[in-house]
Amino acid sequence: MTLKMPQPEAAVLARRAAIVAALRRIVPGEGVIADPDGLRPFESDGLTAYRQPPMVVVLPETTEQVSQVLRWCHDEGVKVVPRGSGTSLSGGALPLADGVLLGLSKFNRVLEVDYDDRLAVVQPGVTNLAVTQAVEARGFYYAPDPSSQIACSIGGNVAENSGGVHCLKYGLTTNNVLGVELVMMDGEIVRLGGRHLDAAGLDLLGVVVGSEGLLGVVTEVTVRILPKPEGARALLIGFPSVESAGQCVADVIAGGIIPAGMEMMDRLAIEAAEAFVKVGYPLDVDALLIVELDGVGAECDHLIDEVTRIAEANGSTTLSASRDEAERLAFWAGRKAAFPAVGRISPDYYCMDGTIPRRRLPDVLERMAQLSAKYGLGVANVFHAGDGNLHPLILYDANKPGELDRAEAFGSDILRLCVEVGGVLTGEHGVGVEKRDLMPDMFGEEDLAQQQRVKCAFDPKGLLNPGKVFPTLHRCAELGRMHIHRGQVPHPDLPRF
């Protein structure tokens, strides 16, 4: 791997035994893991290409313990990497050789559900799906539904601002969190947000969500819960070209319809999915759309008719509307199995996550096909079509020398392409270590410096999750300097997107 992480500090490594002992004084018993076999399960997250055993793992059970661990590490200059369930696809929880890995897995309780105010107070180690399970008997659910929802934790969702197939209509994590309890690197415990809407002052909660574990450690989360829609119906629509499918998506949205989910698959993804789950996907189309409409029965039926009309006007060649729940789930089965399905046709695959303005989809797919030829690697595309979030799956074989490096280079080119057409490096997986070195392709020097100054406001020593998100580490003092001479500010006309 070519990934460069901050150089481990010999002075910290030399104090390992003392650090372990100090952590054991704060978190007794099995809550501190220091033996090599015990550390191994923590050496990677969902981005398994990168591995690094941490110096030590600590699994506190109370906010007070988290605070003491952070304060001790702060005072002693020891780096800390927070971890939820370890499902990050961008390496957000990749450990550091000279860092403490702070796992929140023991924070696994739903503390309170309030149906009148439609919220749940949960600990960060609770899985995303468990929140819905805790409230579904009363007809409620938690809307953000990342595909890893069975395993990923709410704390991790807050760190990554996770989305899911329903986020076009129901929003990302940030739109569904009301408050957090946050422990800062110096051990101070603050509450941001609460059980009400909108902050009294600055929306600090808003900047903590999606900060990838660099600003603080969340020890409690208050999430909004919603009543489950009365029903949902889906359409499975085949198109002879990606252009016509893309135009259909644009026309649906311009027609005033925000579907609960709107997913697109290209030919390779359709073929892989159908070969795997055999649910009757059409194999003679270049693009397949799944459009889900939810709400009361009259709403679903009305919108099924509207979307059908729009699809036909755009030259759809196959169209089925789900008549019952079993059929709706069958439509989704292939999409939901798309990643493992691609895993069956290729020894390995690398999942990318850029967002583009949707109108650029045909050119982006065309350019991606050219890159595919250039790198000699196949690519299957699944696409959150409603919000322009692409998931190209690059097919490679890690056992063939050089293929992983080629896959990574191909992936980087795809993300640069997303930025070039006016999009972004990541729609929902986060920057982490994976896209860290591409940040200058999207942001200028001052843009990144301004983000890092916010980091300095929370963690002036830069001890929390260093080496993630930002390609270069700057000292806070250096970032804080002002460079104004005779009214002239530097870089007056840097090109920006």
Binding site: D114, L119, D198, A200, G256, Q450, M482, I484
Partner: protein
């Protein structure tokens, strides 16, 4: 100062850094009477940094400069069957001005959302990206021009509600949403505040997809309170959901139907808070909805007038009594209270924003310094 280009905004800020002046950022001026008087500050008027940069209805994004009048933005998106998704509140009339004077930059920077915030999210939820000049005099961009993005910190969240204390926005990208073709309101008369909040909670927890929920007490509605539930969407769906809500309301009395113009007028009045016009001190209290009755129970006997929006999550209180009583009631209910309208002397003495807990206050101060180390935007207003 009224710069006409981003470079002139930079120059103005650079000058202020050197001279030690403070800058009071202004858009349409509709909210200028909020916060402490600041006679020493120089007004940085952004109303000439105006115009629509890009609007693509099918992408749901609108890129616009901050000085663009809100009315112009709303008319533009309405032409394409869309709306500014956070339903901006209009402070003009309650502060002695006219309706429709606000700029898009002003409503975003103040984070002021209207009745539909309950179901559709606030300004914070719909600001996707921005370009701004920091208090360092440097231009930076944050966020992006697409609806789904997690690249880097979500600095636009800090912009919504920053109230001119961090940077001068020069361009912003907002998410827009389709405008519902049909809106209808169903109401029930005569409930007390606690019963009304329970009913609104039941409605919000139902499958009827209520878009807005408000409560006018008897004193504001000809001697009989009114609990209002608004439904928006496509015709067949709204009709079906109205029936669901009528069933729910039926347990409390006969449902009143407000359709068409009546529906529009009812919510337009809330958008400018017409029922609480006047010059009594006015507070905007955000609480968990279930806490709303306790706030007014504490203050009503002391002569306050009030109403609920956001199913109780927003309490507007017109009250000339001790500010501490309002702040304490908001704190006790788990929320916060902002002073919106008051005579100058009172605004000089009572902070407009609810004082945060000490740890949060220190963190806010450090975040402000991260954007504005020299205190160029420290006018003392907030």
């Amino acid at each position: 100062m009224r710069p006409t280009t981003e470079q002139e905004v930079r120059d103005a800020i650079a000058d202020a850094i050197r001279s030690g002046a403070t800058l009071d950022i202004k858009g349409g001026g509709s909210k200028a009477a909020i916060g402490a008087p600041r006679p020493e500050a120089t007004v940085l008027d952004l109303s000439a940094i105006a115009g629509v940069v890009d609007y693509d209805p099918a992408e749901l994004v609108l890129t616009v400069r901050p000085g663009t009048p809100l009315a112009e933005v709303e008319a533009l998106v309405a032409e394409r069957g869309q709306r500014v998704a956070f339903d901006p509140f209009d402070h003009g009339p309650i502060l002695g001005g006219t309706a429709g004077a606000a700029t898009i930059g002003g409503v975003v920077a103040a984070g002021v959302s209207g009745s539909l915030r309950l179901s559709g999210g606030g300004a914070r939820d719909h600001l996707l990206g921005l370009r701004a000049v920091s208090g360092r005099g440097e231009v930076f961009v944050a966020g992006a021009k697409v609806v789904k993005n997690v690249t880097g910190y979500d600095l636009p969240k800090l912009a919504a509600g920053s109230r001119g204390r961090l940077f001068a926005i020069t361009e912003m990208t907002l998410k827009v949403l389709p405008r519902a073709p049909i809106a209808a309101t169903r109401a029930v008369a005569g409930l007390d505040p606690a019963a009304a909040v329970r009913l609104m909670a039941a409605a919000m927890g139902s499958q009827a997809e209520v878009g807005a929920a408000a409560y006018l007490p008897a004193a504001l509605n000809h001697g009989q309170s009114l609990t209002l539930l608004r439904l928006l969407g496509f015709g067949p769906s709204v009709a079906a959901r109205c029936r669901m809500i009528e069933t729910l309301l039926g347990a409390h009395g006969a449902a009143v139907a407000l359709d068409g113009d009546e529906d529009t007028a009812c919510w337009a009045a809330l958008r400018t808070l017409a029922p609480l016009a006047g010059d009594t001190c006015l507070w905007r209290v955000n609480v968990p909805p279930s806490g709303a009755p306790s706030v007014v129970t504490a203050l009503e006997p002391l002569g306050s007038r009030w109403l609920f929006d956001w199913a109780g999550g927003l309490v507007w209180i017109a009250f000339d009594g001790d500010a501490a009583l309002v702040r304490n009631a908001a704190t006790a209910a788990g929320g916060h209270a902002m002073l919106i309208r008051a005579p100058e002397a009172l605004r000089a003495a009572v902070p407009a924003l609810h004082p945060p807990a000490p740890g949060v206050a220190a963190l806010e101060e450090r975040v402000r310094r991260a954007f504005d180390p020299a205190g160029v935007f420290e006018t003392g207003r907030f």
